[in-house]
């Protein structure tokens, strides 16, 4: 519970009490009937209903993929792999699907990265380098490409060092550091001179991981990126209040 009884705008903070008194409900429920609709005649969950299991086809596979894409949390890579290589091909095909909602398309991109899908490199590269894609989509594409173990991703990531959006460039730095290929060094050197300090600092840090000493100008502001994480002992910080 908040010790401060006033919000930052000065208005009193309303704190409901924890209830202990029992409720006193005495109204008779109003009877309501249920809407009805037909039941599925096929199911992707054999044994869960009387419906027949779905036939093994791309239509059924797509239905299964959509179910996984709707999961709130991350889907383990083994779950995707259990659907087989055809599922990966279908995910690549879905990148061009105009009916797919943006957030689901981003999930498809991330999933292809998770799967290390070599067959998706070309299309992910197209997304990363297509300025008509949103900055967030480009960031997702960079993130996915960096997780695919293939030398072809390095030049694609390298072509994005001039992306106008710092979030994209920062992700490119992360991925160029992650791919652990010496071909990434020239691009990281460019990014170590980036106009955005956050990008330049991170690039300098990644260069050191490659055993390359960045330029003096970069070094002055280049702390080692702390990829290891330890629980902090000091009090947590409070973000700034945002008003409408």
């Amino acid at each position: 519970m908040d010790a401060d009884q006033h919000q930052e705008d000065g208005s009193p903070r309303s704190v409901p009490d924890l209830g202990s008194m029992p409720s006193k409900y005495n109204e008779q429920p109003i009877e309501r009937k249920e809407d009805q609709m037909p039941s599925s005649d096929v199911s992707i969950y054999p044994g869960r209903s009387e419906a027949a299991p779905i036939r093994e086809s791309k239509a059924g596979l797509r239905l299964q993929i959509e179910r996984l894409l709707h999961r709130r949390e991350a889907v383990p890579v083994e779950t995707w792999q259990a659907l087989g290589e055809e599922a990966t091909m279908l995910l690549v095909q879905m990148l061009d699907d105009q009916t797919l909602q943006e957030a689901l398309r981003q999930r498809v991109i991330a999933t292809l990265g998770q799967l290390g899908a070599i067959s998706a490199i070309s299309q992910l590269g197209d997304i990363l380098l297509n300025r008509s894609e949103s900055a967030l989509n480009r960031t997702y594409a960079a993130s996915a490409l960096g997780k695919i173990t293939d030398p072809r991703v390095v030049p694609l990531l390298g072509r994005a060092v001039t992306d106008q959006n710092p979030m994209v460039r920062r992700q490119v730095v992360r991925e160029l550091g992650r791919v652990d290929q010496v071909d990434a060094v020239p691009y990281l050197l460019i990014l170590s001179e980036d106009s955005e300090r956050e990008v330049a600092d991170l690039a300098a840090s990644k260069l050191r991981n490659y055993g390359v000493r960045p330029g003096v100008e970069s070094e002055r502001v280049a702390p080692e990126e702390d990829n290891t994480y330890e629980t902090q002992t000091q009090a947590k910080k409070r973000p700034a209040r945002e008003y409408d």
Binding site: G19, R48, A51, R72, Q101
Partner: protein, 520 residues
Amino acid sequence: MTREGYGRGRVASKRELRALRRTLGLDVRKPIDLNSSPSDVIAAHPQIGKRVADRLLGFRDQHRIRTPADLYQAGVINERQLTTLEQVAYGDLVLRPMITGISTDSANLYVDEPFSVQIAFTPSSLIRPELVSIDVRFPSGKVGRANFTISEEDHGAGRTVLGEFVSVEAGEFHVIATIRDKAGNIHRQSATFGVFTRNPVQMYVTPSYWTQSGNAGAPKFDFDQRRWYCYASVRWVNSTSSTVNLGRAVTVRMTDAGSDIGTFSFNLSGDVVIPPMSTVYGNLQTWHPEGSSAFDVFHAKGDLTFQYSMSGSGFTPTTTLIWRTMRVIGYNIIRVGDFTATERSEYRRAAAEIASSIFQSRDMTVYGVELYRIEGTPEMDADKARFRFIDSQDEINALRDKYTIDNWFMDVFFVEGRWDGAFGSSPTNGPVDKEGNSSGLVLRRDGDTINLGQTFAHEAGHYLGLEHADDDDGCADTDPSDPNISDNFIYSSSLRDSDVITLCQIDKMRRHGLVHSLTP
């Protein structure tokens, strides 16, 4: 003597109605017949655009179009435009099935009377359609979905008939149909139908917040004004062939265990004018000040029955609703990244309205949403750059370990993207004191506000102690073999409109320290 109650309300504008339909996913365009669709329809199609439409129409004047590839081979469109066109248009030779219409078996649908839905699609396409999926929303608000195989006969005929449906309330019945072909492509279409009542003019009042029983509304207490508020949406349905004007006066009669405790009236902002065979939407709220009987009953965790009525054009529609008190949760939404004012407004709405309406079926709702940002100091600016696109679970832990808000609301870190593409994540049974590195939810940008609201509710459910409904969750009333388990809000692949919460689940959540009671 204190007046028993006050109220206000209004009829929804057309713009609000359009926005509502958009949130239901009902703005899907019909496919284009490249040889016969009118030129203005083609030009107005958002995925085709006027420039491509002009070139397409010029080509069509000279040639029949067999497939969109004819346009590509003639140099009229490029490869990217071909990919688009193949998904929204067809020529004489139909490559893949597309839904061309959704209809019902009778011109008018009536309450309690069975009806079927017919899905028409392009017949004899080269790629065979295999499944049709339907998502429906009944006037009562109940949603449902089902999958059906398409027989050889239906493929040849270009249609499949699904029945039987029965609606128990009048209003609008929405259908989204998805056809799935053998190549893994899909095509989607939506339609809305009026459901009418033999009792010619009806009024339905639906509480904005429901209680645990699922058949009572939950009033909200305003601590500043010391009033109980009863928020509700209203639907007026006219099943006659004439316009009906119910005026603007609403009368509310309140009873406690059958005994009258008071009646009051108020005016809506305008008359309720319902065109023939139509539904009109609106909202109303009543409030009950300290000293009134309703205030005393609600403050003692009691319940009341309200009877709402209006009168006009010779009709007096009446409806009753029970109101009960409830428990609450709150969200601190902590923005990490750049979000437009519209996006901020939408994620607030997702938490305050959509997630709240998911908790509607039980006696819990979203009490408040406060907005914060990690931005504005050199340290926070650096953290914003670092955490706006979350790259690992370690980063999630680091973010949660560093920031919190010292109040009783759940902390929700709202980032632009996540490496794993997940909509969100949360610890199960998160800490009440919000200490440590598992002290909040981490959600990512999602332009679909309904889906985002579902994520808020789902992840809050985890934080408040729930496991997935299809896992070993310790609840006897969540059966993983139930064919409708996907309707549960905390099913692992809960859909954007999954809103079922069981009694066991709500009882578990109510034990968490961040769930409070509104009453003393």
